[in-house]
Symmetry: C2
Subunit: 353 residues, 2 copies
């Protein structure tokens, strides 16, 4: 590894972007050169409070941001001259127009799961395909739901257990901080198309996954719940399945018997653990209700949509820039710096690396 830190910028300081910025700062081989956005409200003022150099994502935003008292260092164009890589967390449709700008500036780029696979030609989940991202100029970190699918089904596949998987995704309606009428109340809204897009999206990372998903939106904000029915390649025990999940990173276990009985109790536990913003970066998989019947496996897990892709983005930075050639070493380094665990409480608690 070079002694020179990778110079990173985050373009789009929203739900994902602000978390990526903090995670970059936590790494000893990266430097956050700045963050860029177009808004001028409290969200960006917090970035100023944290001491992050703030840039305008486009020249049109400069006046508004200056008028609002944001001490702008410059614009994205200025910033691109100084960095190796940009983590783009701008909204869907904005992001795709940015790729050519990054390429013209000779800066590598990472997009988020709202973008299409075709934008970058490569989709990324660290534990599945770190190697194929090494040295590329761009990749896409897949969405929160897809990331969780690749982590869990990837673990079963790696253990030679996976034949096919059928999942139901009970999605949160909107994020907790939102108040823009994007939520739903007192209903369940099934997606009008079956299968939902997450199965094919997982196949952009692991092409031969036999996976089908059905998705619905529910009347809550406390992240997603997935339920899975998996056909195994052979008769297996619960211990065998748990072992398959335990040998891969970024899956941690929840225990209903320990009082963690619902999405909201998990999140309260994250807050009590002192995690930044109460984030859960791991797939939170309920160990006690996980059931094996013959060659069939059933389980539920929680996907904290606001944070799960953040460690993946950090690894993507190392892969594209080539500062770490070994994916598992990058994952261990990221997880150590951010504080990921395999069990949240109790005797199994072990730091990933």
């Amino acid at each position: 590894m070079s002694n020179q830190k990778v110079r990173v910028i985050v373009n789009g300081y929203g739900v994902i972007g602000k978390r990526i910025a903090d995670a970059v700062v936590a790494q000893d081989d990266m430097e956050l050169v700045g963050i860029a956005d177009v808004v001028s409200d409290w969200r960006i003022k917090i970035a100023v409070e944290k001491g992050y150099p703030v840039f305008a994502s486009n020249p049109e935003a400069v006046d508004n941001m200056r008028t609002a008292g944001i001490p702008l260092v410059g614009t994205l164009d200025d910033l691109l001259k100084q960095v190796d890589i940009v983590a783009d967390a701008t909204p869907k449709k904005v992001a795709s127009a940015n790729l050519e700008k990054y390429r013209a500036a000779g800066v590598k780029s990472i997009f988020q799961g709202g973008e299409k696979h075709s934008l970058t030609g490569h989709s990324f989940v660290a534990q599945a395909n770190y190697n194929s991202a090494i040295g590329r100029d761009t990749t896409r970190v897949v969405s929160c739901n897809t990331t969780s699918i690749v982590r869990t089904l990837g673990a079963l596949k790696q253990a030679g257990l996976l034949k096919k998987a059928r999942g139901v995704l009970i999605r949160r309606a909107t994020d907790p901080w939102e108040s823009d009428h994007s939520g739903v109340m007192n209903t369940i809204v099934p997606e009008t198309t079956i299968p939902s897009h997450q199965g094919p999206d997982a196949q952009t990372v692991v092409p031969d996954l036999d996976v089908v998903t059905i998705a619905v939106v529910a009347a809550h904000t406390t992240s997603h719940l997935h339920t899975w029915s998996v056909e195994l390649t052979h008769l297996a025990t619960k211990d065998e399945v748990l072992a398959a999940f335990r040998v891969v990173p970024r899956i941690a276990f929840l225990q209903a018997a320990d009082g963690v009985v619902a999405l909201n109790s998990t999140l309260e536990m994250m807050a009590d653990l002192g995690r930044p913003r109460g984030d859960m970066w791991e797939v939170g998989l309920w160990e006690d209700s996980l059931t094996v019947k013959g060659n069939e496996l059933f389980y539920n897990y929680q996907v904290y949509n606001q944070a799960i892709v953040v460690p993946e983005t950090i690894d993507a930075i190392r892969a594209l820039t080539g500062i770490e050639q070994d994916g598992m070493r990058s994952i261990a380094k990221t997880d150590q710096a951010m504080g990921l665990v395999r069990d949240f409480v109790g005797r199994h608690r072990v730091i990933t690396n």
Copy 2:
């Protein structure tokens, strides 16, 4: 069929009981002799308003009910001397103690799905096992969720299509009229045991069903949503599957393309159709999102928990008393009297019989 109407009493005038009472009144071969309960609030006063003879379910309740101004006709014991059959919709645990009382009075009885199969030794869904209930002294109409499972998987089985089915039940937290802190807010609560009980419960009606269910509770009151992944016995088309659902009663189709996109839009449609209490007695199955891939079938449907078992209870009355020996004729008669349909709107709308 005898010219003598079957004399029916409803014991327990709650969510299910009040609907059974109305449905009995709608039948030309049944007479509602009275309803019995122990409460003395608005719920029972509405029964008085409707002109139903009101009885006290036990002697201890008499004073309270009289003090509240309920014009009691007598007690359950008086009532049992005058009737052929009792539909028991009292709360769990109360009901099971009643069976011996009914037997001692020589009165047939029907229990609801909160009771165990072992209480009656027979569990009932009209289209599946009407025949085996004929002449029995008691049966149990299975729960709303189980009824929907038997109707839908029973249809696939009858068409020779069903190999195995894996379902996820996204349950409403509590009923819309409740305010007793039994709900949940802003979370999903997965059941701590997989599989949930509904699979084995369906097997009490159709023993050889290969079915496994996972259940969660969500933060809404607008009935249940089920999602299913079914393995078929052979490659099939969507039309073949729809035909299998169409030839059985009490499944009706919902169209997302027609704007029926969620649990609450369905319920608004029921209200606009002028249905009593906005009830949906049919399984409301989304036709347009139903998907067949090879020998696999995926679909979502809505279970209106407050009403779906009511037509089943009417048929159980005919089966136990033997006034109708043909289950499909009973179903047609019930559905005609109550107003069940195969399609809620549009060209396919056909009354069941």
